[in-house]
Point group: none
Chain length 401, copies 2
């Protein structure tokens, strides 16, 4: 029996409300002078109290040794096997800007770029143009006609980023990126990775050519590259699976997109604690609230230990402001972003679950990587978090008699 | 390669004898005044000594977050993937009363109930009639004729409970329960949950009508409801898989049934320690003895902390009396039944394995939920216990060369 079908068969109602708090890139690595990770160095009274009264452990995102991107990392946290339920960055980008995707659509991310007269890339991000330039450029590309049988839509995402959606019969998203990840060379041609995608790759080539014509007068953003092609296959929603009415509070389109993919109502927020707390309060009618905090990951990618510590403390105080409205609180990261690696990593991430049905396990009274090694949740896979949270909230009934 | 086939391919003989002791609903939750679970509060010198000399850990029954019924919980403990090897309550009930099921039989549980003159249920359990009334009523229903091609057998189980087995060609157990779980309404009709079960559902309807005729003169038990319909698909036995000659000492039909399902010889017992110990001694020719202790689960479902503590102590002294006859001793629960939840739960269950090949792991010298978090067995799934026990008993040979 399929794992999701199995859990679906156990879903039942309860009046318990769940806070699902994802502190992006939470896990870290020790500072050589103190031996403490970013989380261990941070003053986190709220996380510590919840871990002491609740259960803690370590979560492996996706599978042992796998460094996940934000898409699969969140998909696993939401309880979907990330090897079964894969989704491309293009689809996530389109969902993130509220594009109404339909099954079979092919989506890709667009980067505006700068090309020299010979068509070679001089800047892969077109001088990081702002929204005031990027938005009207995206609008100019929207509705490029590729013939009667295909509909082609472009939406602006942020700064130099946009996305394109192709709609029509028989499209296939198995197409390679056109960004050569280098300057001084022209963009690559969209290459079909499967014979079934040949037609779609030809449409993408035509789109790129037409875009270049429309952008030819632009001083900086006179070209585009396409990445993360993917066909859209709708996910069974958290409502279909578990009867949840989930809301998502997130500041970045990427996380709004992955939340929309699983059927959440989106409460977009500014990227700062006051705004996030206010939006959580507005989302209070939902029995499941996904709250996403971004700053930790960004500072980890900057390699800035102290700044990541400060962001963790900020996430802790945000949690203090919102947690009382919930019966079950889960906190983890989608992955580790250790300051010393300046990137996502495969390291397991601390997790805590607090509810009225916990087996607290002393430890040292702190929420951190070392303490969580001995937590009562043990070492689990990220896709196991959702069923555990549902169980704590009384939303899974007994299996068999 | 299928998991069971894999382990089967490794099975080999040894003279080691295994005690497989299941303390039903063993796992618990802390008492708010002491922070100790039922097991942690109990005086358990035998369990403590075995855990100190052996290996301990925590077992997740079935899968993360899943609260199992007794059927799937035991099936997993016996080493079968509970999502692959599912079995309905009707089949377990029929096996529990030693009915000689054959592949393709459809079994269901019967509850005698009270109906008013309009056919509405006034008591779903017929006033909880005792065996002296229930047994002859079941006998009266045995052999109801539903035509030449179908054989229909009824057996008494306990009090107001019985079971029915339909035997014939093309039967299908995908039929909904007829118990409406309410009074003041008539029983439901047996509804086919799959078109293939239409014929069987019609037979069940006819059976219920005939039963009502035969019970029409009864003062209390004048109707029946049917639940837990299931087709019987024989399991590969523990003998076929591992060459074991297993015996089961259990006081309740349910556990005798699940033991029979995997090919154990049953030693029914009264539900008290002296009787159980004597039956274990009678079962001494078996190289694998499954011993089931029920009281812990019952007191957990009562929500009675002290009584569950006392039952755990009673199980401990039972273990002291029987353990010397075995080379390998495994002790766990099929699931947790925390006193504070008054029900089965998903919480991992303490487990210990003692043999001459152990890696003891200090801990605090006690067998309990907190100590087991750090046990050398780690956190495992219940279906992994059987192969571990077989390995400790020298009954699994090397894989590959």
């Amino acid at each position: 029996m399929d794992r999701l079908d199995f859990y679906r068969s156990l879903a039942t109602e309860s009046d318990q409300r769940i806070l699902f708090f994802v502190i992006d890139g939470l896990g870290g690595l020790p500072h050589p002078e103190t031996g403490l990770t970013e989380l261990e160095a941070a003053a986190t009274p709220t996380l510590d109290a919840l871990a002491a009264a609740g259960e803690s452990g370590l979560v492996t995102p996706v599978l042992a040794g796998v460094t996940p991107g934000s898409g699969p990392a969140h998909i696993s946290l939401f309880g979907y096997d990330p090897l079964v339920w894969q989704v491309g960055r293009g689809v996530l980008a389109a969902l993130g800007v509220e594009f109404d995707l339909r099954a079979g659509d092919v989506a890709a991310r667009i980067n505006f770029c700068s090309l020299d007269p010979e068509g070679r890339i001089t800047d892969r991000r077109a001088g990081r143009i702002g929204d005031q330039i990027g938005a009207p450029l995206a609008e100019r590309l929207d509705g490029i006609s590729l013939g009667d049988s295909v509909q082609c839509s472009v939406r602006h995402v942020k700064q130099y980023r946009a996305c394109v959606v192709f709609r029509g019969g028989g499209l296939d998203g198995r197409i390679a990126d056109t960004d050569p990840q280098a300057t001084g060379v022209p963009p690559l041609q969209p290459e079909a990775l499967d014979p079934a995608a040949t037609h779609t790759a030809a449409l993408a080539t035509e789109f790129i050519d037409r875009a270049r014509e429309l952008l030819s007068g632009e001083p900086v953003a006179n070209g585009v590259t396409l990445r993360g092609f993917d066909s859209y296959h709708p996910f069974p929603s958290l409502c279909e699976l578990y009867g949840l009415d989930p809301g998502a509070v997130a500041s970045y389109p990427m996380y709004q997109g992955v939340a929309r993919l699983v059927g959440m109502t989106i409460y977009p927020s500014k990227d700062e604690p006051d705004a996030l707390a206010a939006r959580v309060s507005e989302a209070s009618r939902h029995d499941f609230v996904f709250l996403h905090y971004k700053g930790t990951d960004s500072r980890g990618e900057d390699g800035d230990y102290d700044a990541k510590v400060a962001e963790i403390e900020s996430a802790d105080s945000l949690l203090a402001r919102v947690r009382d409205a919930f019966d079950v609180v889960m906190v983890t990261g989608d992955h580790s972003t250790p300051w010393s690696m300046r990137s996502h990593s495969w390291h397991p991430v601390p997790v805590l679950i607090a509810s009225r049905h916990c087996r607290p396990h002393g430890g040292d009274g702190r929420f951190g990587e070392s303490a969580c090694v001995q937590g009562s949740l043990g070492h689990i896979l990220s896709m196991d978090i959702m069923p555990l949270v549902l169980a704590h909230a009384g939303k899974l009934k007994k299996f068999g008699a």
